[in-house]
Symmetry: C2
Subunit: 356 residues, 2 copies
């Protein structure tokens, strides 16, 4: 399937100005140790390795933006999950956007911008079949990792496919100012719902009710009575709870679930740094009476919907029906900080690392 | 279950001023003959009968508003359908709103306004268990037969439950200015869809794009190229077609169905006056490629949703999110004209007959 190297080199030749040759070293992050509880910077190790050579059918990509996501905490743990655990001493993986430097793949040429599951690294050599060209139109290529990428798709699948939003629903979103939550709430708003966001600072709450058009936002750190605040914001009860958080925030919502309500379980970031021994306890509130459906989902199971969802998201962003923010950390050397910040809610919108 | 008559009479006594005693005659419409093709006035016969006496558990209701609906054409035909055929020489049935004149039922008292499946008649004696109290709040009681009644419920079930509208969908509604279509289009608008109505006069088209907030409306009688007009109004294709009409209007839409589109088949009024021998022919356009789902539905199968749907509809009408019109024919003697007018699109919104 791969185009012979010699030919790829010929294609590359005239573009040498826009695609400078790779330097000698490739900085990349390894998982140094498996954290217990909260990870620290010492669990990561920055290594200078050789720039990899792309094999047949492979492509050498220079990373421009790297995604850090809460689900990665699960991959640092040696436990069964939907994503395989990372091995200690091995490079860490991440969804990235980058530029093709050298291609042995029939469909990709040097200079193209692509996205795929790469590494926390400056360069990566991967099978070209696993890369997609980035098509963000007039928008920055970084949006392929945020509003137009996995987080945007997750928001759509969670509200529409799993959450089955109906016009007139009241939708509560936790981690509402995050990459997924901020888009989920806006999709629900477009879908004719009353949207209430739960978030961790007053500034984020203002962003939600201001620019993003949420009907209400609750700063859970400032609320004396979080359950009461949810009840006040949801006079007809909660029809859909888009769950990103778990723990006590979740408890505050579940007491208000309406008849035939749904809980779309996207993630539980509040629990990711807890170990198995520490099962958290709280009210057991899901009764038969309300016919609530609680359903976990993984966006990758919905791949057949991505083209459709991408069309919708691109259109809404172009029409400013949906707005987004990105929090960009500069330099690969601070990737662990960017990742650890997720658990403190340091980001507004999508957290990215700009590389090189 | 019924309260003894004597007791009911005692309850009624003090209300005699608001509920005058029934007169001696009860005008009612019988099915005089089974029409072939288009029905005419001669297929109906107005008879003066005695006012019925309510039996144990029964209630005497004086009709205030009577519904005429396209589905009734099916009941005039001696053929299998979801509603039993009417017998020639027997009274015709209709959803009505009326006042309790006399009650032998434990839960209903004279003076109350109720709705139920009654007759094309001035009075009816029916089992009180088959009646519901009318709860239209500040709205006229007639809305219990329109936007808050069966047509409103049908519109909701067709768009949300069967049609599975998603925000961003393009929704086409035929018979869009009718009782069901006008509400269906507005629900789709609330649900974040682009809504295109097909209707039969310029005045109706203006109502749809004006007061009701449709994105576009097409007067099918004025369009030289109806399919072209649908294509122009639906640049991304048609995700949901809310089918009330059938025939050539339907053909004009099906050519534009998008991938994963749905057709919610609510009715096919254009075909109701055709006999079995006259199967209409047209393009066979439903290919596997678009994965279109065509699904017929009958609102009564969704009874478990009516409370939920009623809450939504009442709220939207109160907030003027959804607007409605009624076309009221005065006097029971013109009920057949009101019914026959449905097939010519004489009505805007819900067609009713005011009785007495």
């Amino acid at each position: 399937m791969g185009r012979p190297r010699a030919r790829a080199a010929r294609v590359m030749a005239p573009r040498v100005d826009v695609c400078p040759m790779a330097p000698d070293t490739n900085r990349r992050w390894l998982l140094a140790s498996r954290p217990t509880g909260e990870p620290t910077r010492e669990d990561f190790e920055l290594e200078a390795a050789a720039v990899p050579e792309p094999g047949p059918g492979e492509v050498l990509v220079r990373t421009r933006y790297m995604s850090v996501d809460p689900y990665m905490r699960g991959r640092m743990r040696d436990a069964d999950s939907y994503a395989d655990p990372w091995a200690v001493g091995e490079p860490m993986r991440a969804r990235c956007v980058g530029e093709v430097v050298e291609s042995n793949h029939r469909d990709l040429t040097a200079g193209e911008t692509v996205t795929g599951n790469l590494y926390w690294s400056e360069y990566a050599a991967v099978d070209g079949d696993d890369l997609e060209p980035v098509d963000t139109g007039d928008l920055p290529v970084s949006t392929a990792l945020g509003v137009l990428g996995m987080p945007g798709r997750t928001a759509y699948v969670g509200t529409v496919d799993v959450g089955r939003v109906e016009p007139g629903d009241t939708v509560v979103v936790s981690a509402a100012a995050g990459a997924v939550g901020s888009v989920a709430g806006q999709i629900a708003r477009v879908a004719g719902c009353r949207v209430v966001g739960i978030t961790g600072t007053e500034e984020k709450a203002d962003w939600l009710t201001g620019e993003l058009g949420f009907d209400a936002a609750i700063d859970y750190r400032a609320a004396d009575d979080l359950a009461g605040a949810v009840g006040e914001a949801c006079p007809y009860g909660v029809d859909l709870y888009f769950e990103n958080v778990g723990g006590e925030v979740s408890d505050a919502v579940t007491g208000h679930l309406a008849d035939y309500s749904r809980v779309a379980v996207c993630g539980k970031i509040a629990l990711y740094n807890r170990e198995d021994g520490e099962v958290t306890r709280g009210p057991r509130r899901l009764h038969q009476r309300t016919r609530t459906r609680v359903e976990g989902f993984i966006v990758s199971d919905h791949a057949h919907r991505f083209e459709h969802i991408g069309d919708r998201l691109r259109r809404w962003v172009a029409e400013e029906e949906i707005r987004y923010r990105e929090t960009v950390t500069e330099g690969i050397e601070d990737a662990p900080e960017a990742f650890l910040g997720l658990f403190e809610g340091a980001n507004v919108g999508k957290q990215l690392v700009r590389v090189g």
